[in-house]
Symmetry: D2
Subunit: 360 residues, 4 copies
C-alpha cells in the first residue's frame, strides 16, 4: 500500500531509488503567492551533499534541483510543486558483490521479505539518498514558515560519546559535522578518525529548535504536534529514538520540577521554563519547540560480518565502496526539513480551528 | 482540522470529553469473520480502570463497553465497529475553581489558544480519560493479531528512578504498577508514597514487546513501521520520548556492535542479536518488536504553582481533587493498545505489497 | 479496508446496521465556537423519518439523536462531535424468510461476495437506514454553512415519469413527496398508488441548490468541487446518475450556448446564465450550485422474482414487510445533507489556499 | 489544501501546468513484481496526443514518457513509480491577449478567485493537458488489472446529437473520434465540420466498460465503487454528468423492470440483465461495469463573447489559437484511465476484507 505520501493539508509524495534515473517529490498544498526559486531549495540540498569532508562519502552528486511545476513568475500558484533531482554518479558496479547477500543493519532483508525483490543497487529506495527529496520539499516548507517569522534550525548535538557543551549556531556552519561547539567538533573529529581506522562507524544525536511558533498548532488527539513530529523524524532512516523537550529525562522528574510555570507579560502568556519543549497536550504552547533524533551508526562497515544469502545460506560480508563513517552530519538538514514540513502542515491545518477565523 | 482519526487500512475515529455524556470510537476496516465479544474488549478496559490501588485516582467508573455495530452473531461483519462507554462519575464541580486558570503542565493553555474555548471540566478532550477509547479500539486490534499468532505485551519498565531488573510477565499482573519485577515494584511503591507525601508526582517508562511478527510489515518511506509506532505512542498524552530497540543508546554505539548479524536456520533467516528492535529500514525483520515510551510525571499536583488566568493575569494554583500520583501504570495498556492498532493496520496494508499475493 | 470515513478537513465516520443496537457518526473537524443543539440536528432527522405518509415504510422509529461529545455549554469545542441514534423498532423476524436468498437489486450478493457473511437483517449496513447517520452529520455541516450565509435546499424534481413544472420551495414542505409543485405532487401521488397496486415501485430525481457560495471552493485537480459532490451523492444507495448544472444536456449543446458570459456589477463578477451549475474547472464560480441525483426504484417489491440462494441454487422470492414504494422523498434530505457536508469540507479546505489569508 | 492526490491503497499525485517545464505523476502503491515498460505507458499517451486529425488541436507534443523510479530490471519494485512528460511546444505567446480576461466556460475566474493569481498560459493547471498525467498513471493501473484478466475499454458514444447505434470495438480505433460505429462516425464528422464553420464547438458522451471484474470490489458506505468511479470521472475537466448502468433512465423505471434477476450456472451467480451496471450497494456484482461521462462542448470558441477583465470591467473576447472543436475523442482514454485507476485501487483495498484471506 502507498507509503510515500506525507502530510495532511500539505502533502508530499516522494520517489526515487539511489541508482535509478532520478529522485524527487511533489509538494501539494502550498498556498499561492509565496516567492520561491530553485536557489531557495538548492541551498538546503547543498547542506546534505556528499563529498564535503573526510567524513562523508566521496560519491559526487551535484544534486541540482529543477522546479517542474507550481511556480509562475517567481511565485507559487497554489498548484503542486514538482521537484526533480537527477542521479548522476551511480556506480552500480560497486554493489554487484552484494547482489545476493543481506547487509546487516540495512533494510535489504526487510525489503526482500516485503516485496520479494532485491534491488541491490546501494539500497535502492532504502538508501539515504532518498532523503534528498525530503530536503527539497522541506526547503519549500521552510520558505513558507519564514513568511510568518518561524525559523527551524538543527545541528549535531553528539557524535558517539562526544556531546556539545554550548550551542553557538554560527559555529555550526563552520565545521563539517555541523556542531555548534568548536571544541566538541575537534573531539568528535578525532573520535571519527579512530572509528575509521578500525573500519568501524559511529552514531550521534541531532537536535532541532523551532522559534516563532504561535500557540495553537497541532490537532489532538492523534495528530498532536509532538506525535506528528515523532512520525516525521522517525521516518528518517537510522533514527532509533525521539524526544520532545526534556524527553526521556522527564520520566525521572517530578511534577513539581517538570511542570513549566506560566506568567503574563505584555498581555501574552509565557513560561518560566521549557521542559515541555514547546508542546503541551499535543498543541504548541508558544515556546520554542525542541526535539532530538538519536541516530544509529552507519551500518555499512568494512569489517567482516556474518550474514545470509538470498538463498538463505550462511555467509560473510565485507562492505566496500563509498560510505559515510557517520550519518549524523548529513542527517542534520534532513531532521530540520522534516520538522519544517510538519510545522507547515500544522500551520495550514490550524486555519480551520475556530469559527471566528473562517473566511469566505 | 480533523485530528481524531487514526490509521490507514484500519481507521479509528475516537470521541469524547472527560465530563461529557460518553466516550468511544468507530473502528473501521476490521476484516469480516473475526470472533468478537464485549468481554474481549472489557478485559482490556478493566486494566486501565481507575480506583484499583492507592496510586490511581479514586474516580469510580465502571467503564462498561457496549458494541453498537459491526458484529453479528458473534462475528465481525467487515463494517464499522462502534464502541460506546458512558461517563458516569463526573463530579464536574471538583473543577470549578480551575475554571479560569491554566494548569501548568496541562493542555489547558494550548486548547484555549487553538479553539478560543475553555472546557474546564477536568481537561475535557485532553483528559487521560480519552485513552479509554484507544484501549477499546486496541482490544479489537489485539483480537485480530491474535488470530495470526501475534501477541503484544506492555509493562512498566521504570517508575521515577526505580528500574526493573528482570522481566517476569506473570508478575506483571500481580502488582498494581504492572511491573514485571516484584522487588522493583516494592521500591517503586515506596518511592510513590514519598512523592505523595510531598504533594508531588512521578513519571516512568513503559516497554512494549510484540512477538510473532512476520518480516515485511511497514510501508516506506514515510509509513515505516517504526515511524507509525512513534506516531501512535507519542500521541498518548504525557509521552515525551520514544525508542525502538536500543533506541537512544544506539547513538553511542558503533556499527560493529549495533548491527545484528543474520544467520539461517530451518530455512528461515534469524538475527543473533536484536539491537534493531525488530525493524530495519522501516520494515519488520521477523524479530520481536521492542519499544519504549517515556512518560512525564502527572502534572496535577497539590503544591502551589505559579500560573495565569484566562484574562492573562498572574495567579497561583493548587490542584485538588482525584489525581493519580503517577500516570505510568494506567498508561501500560494504552501503549499496548496503540501498538496493537499500528501493527494490525500494518498487517492489513501489507496485503497488497506483492503481485503474487493479490487475490481476485 | 476502511470505507466509512468521509471528507478531508472535515471528516465523518459513520456506523450502524439497520437492525443492530444503534447507528450514528463521529463528525471531526468542525471549528470551535459554533452554536449547536440536538434540536438543530433533530429537525433534519425528522425529515427522513419513516411512517409519515402512505408512501413511506410504516417502520416506526423515533430516531432521537443524542449528542455524546464535542459540544459544551451550547457551543462546539473543536473536538469530535459524536451523534447517536438508537434503533428501536427492529422486527428482525420480518426478514427471516430472506435469510438464505439474495434479493434482486439489493446489495446482498455483493456484501456476501465481499465479506463472506450474510447479515440478513433488512440489509444490515446496506439498508437505507444507514443514511440517518449522514443526515445527522449533514445537519451539523448545514449549521456551519448557515453562519456564512450559505443555504442548501433539496427537493423532489421527478417521481417516475412525473416532472415538476415549477419550483416553489414553500410548497415543498407541504406534501409528503417534498415536491415544489402541488400539481406535480398530485400526479405523482396517483402514479405511486398505481405502482403499489401492481406490487411495484418507482424511482425519481432529487435536485439540490446551494446559494450564497463564494467563488473559490474546490481543490483541483482531483478534489474538484463537482467531483467531490458526485462522490458524496453517488455514495447514497440507489443513486445511479449525477449531474451538475445542465449535466447530461451539456453533451448536446454547443460552446456558444453552453458558455456562461461574465459581466461586472457593483465591483463583483456575475454570470448571465448558469449552465455550469456554479462550478467551473472544479472551483465554485460564485453562482448557485445546482445538482441532480437520479434514483432507481425501490428494489424491494412484493412481486415474485427469480433469484438464487446463498448455496447458489435457483429459487424465487417475494419480498414482504415494510418497504417504501419510492425512495425519493426520504432521499431528499440525504442529498441535501451530503451536499452540505461536501460544501462545509470545501470551505474549510479553502482556508489555506492563499498566503495572504494564512493567520498565525 | 492539497487536492492533486488521488486514491487510497493506490495513490497518484499529479503535477504540471500546460506551459510549464513538465507534467507527470507519482504512482504509489503498485504491488512489486509487475512487468512494466515505458512502451506500456506510451501507447496510452499516444491515444490522447493532439494533432491526430482535423478535430484536435494542432499543438504538436511528442508526449514521451520517462519512468524515473520504481521499476528495476523490467519489474515494479513496490516503490513509487514517477512518470515524467516534458512540455515541448509551448507557444506561450498565443495566450498573451487573454492575459487580463476571464474566458467564459473556463476555470480562469475560479482559479483567480481561489488563488489570487492568474496563470494565463493556456489554462495552466486547469488545461486539458493535465490529463496526460492521469493517462500515464492509468496505463500502469491497466497493466496491473490486465494481470488479473480485467479489461477496461472506453469509446465515444455520442458527439453532439449523433449517437452510436452499435458497439464495434474494433472500429473504434479506426476513426479519429473513437466511435465504435462507422456510420455514426461519418455523421459526427459532418456535424463537427458544421460546428467549426460556425466558429462553434460540440460536446458528447464517453462510455466505458470494464470486464472480468470479480464480485466484491468497493468499500461501503462512502468508498462505494460507483461513488469512487463518479469522483474519478467527474474530476476530469468538462464532465458534467455521470451514470452507472441505466443511470438517469433508472429514475423512470419500475422495480420490476429495473431489478436484475439472479440465476446460478456452473456454481457461480449470474444476472439475467445488467441494469445495475455491475454494481449493487456500492459493491461489484460480477457483471460488466458500465459507466457514461457526459462532456460539455469545448469552451474555447472563436466567436465573440461577453466577459470581464481581471480588474472587473466588462469587455469582449474572441479566443484564437489551437483548440479542439470537441474534447470528447481525446477524453476517451482519460475516462478509461480514471476507471482503471479506480478499479485497481478497489482491487487492492479489497485484499483485507475477510479474515480468511489475510496472509502473514
Amino acid at each position: 500500500m502507498a507509503g510515500s505520501v506525507f502530510g495532511n493539508a500539505l502533502k508530499v509524495a516522494t520517489f526515487g531509488e539511489s541508482h535509478g534515473a532520478a529522485i524527487g517529490c511533489v509538494v501539494d498544498g502550498i498556498p499561492a503567492g509565496l516567492n520561491l526559486s530553485e536557489e531557495d531549495i538548492q541551498k538546503y540540498l547543498d547542506r546534505r551533499k556528499p563529498g564535503q569532508s573526510a567524513f562523508t562519502t566521496k560519491r559526487n552528486e551535484a544534486d541540482r534541483v529543477e522546479i517542474l511545476s507550481g511556480v509562475f513568475e517567481g511565485k507559487t500558484e497554489g498548484t503542486p510543486i514538482a521537484l526533480l533531482i537527477r542521479n548522476e554518479d551511480q556506480h552500480s558496479k560497486d554493489y554487484s558483490d552484494l547482489k545476493d547477500k543481506f547487509r546487516p543493519g540495512h533494510a535489504d532483508f526487510g525489503f526482500f521479505s516485503k516485496y520479494g525483490i532485491r534491488d541491490y543497487r546501494g539500497g535502492g529506495r532504502s538508501s539515504g539518498r532518498e532523503t534528498a527529496a525530503r530536503v527539497a520539499a522541506g526547503a519549500v516548507a521552510a520558505k513558507l514558515l519564514d513568511e510568518f517569522g518561524i525559523e527551524v534550525h538543527a545541528y549535531t548535538k553528539a557524535i558517539g560519546p562526544v556531546q556539545i557543551e554550548k550551542t553557538d549556531l554560527d559555529e555550526c556552519m563552520n565545521n563539517p559535522l555541523y556542531m555548534p561547539d568548536h571544541k566538541a567538533y575537534e573531539k568528535a573529529s578525532d573520535y571519527l578518525k579512530e572509528c575509521m581506522k578500525k573500519k568501524d562507524s559511529a552514531g550521534g544525536v541531532v537536535e532541532c529548535i523551532a522559534t516563532g511558533i504561535p500557540a495553537g498548532l497541532g490537532e489532538p488527539v492523534f495528530d498532536k504536534l509532538d506525535a506528528s513530529l515523532a512520525y516525521a523524524v522517525m521516518s528518517i532512516g537510522a533514527v532509533k529514538g525521539f524526544e520532545i523537550g526534556d524527553g526521556c529525562r522527564a520520566a525521572q522528574a517530578n511534577g513539581s520540577t517538570n511542570n513549566d510555570s506560566f506568567f503574563a507579560e505584555n498581555g501574552r502568556v509565557h513560561k518560566k521554563t521549557n521542559h515541555s519543549g514547546g508542546i503541551l497536550g499535543g498543541i504548541s504552547d508558544g515556546s520554542d519547540i525542541i526535539l532530538c533524533a538519536y541516530i544509529k551508526p552507519t551500518p555499512s562497515i568494512a569489517q567482516e560480518q556474518s550474514t545470509v544469502t538470498d538463498a538463505f545460506d550462511d555467509t560473510t560480508i565485507e562492505i566496500k565502496g563509498r560510505h559515510d563513517p557517520v550519518i549524523v552530519p548529513r542527517a542534520v538538514v534532513v531532521v530540520e526539513c522534516m520538522t519544517a514540513l510538519t510545522l507547515a502542515d500544522a500551520l495550514l491545518m490550524n486555519q480551520s480551528s475556530r469559527i471566528d477565523r473562517i473566511k469566505l
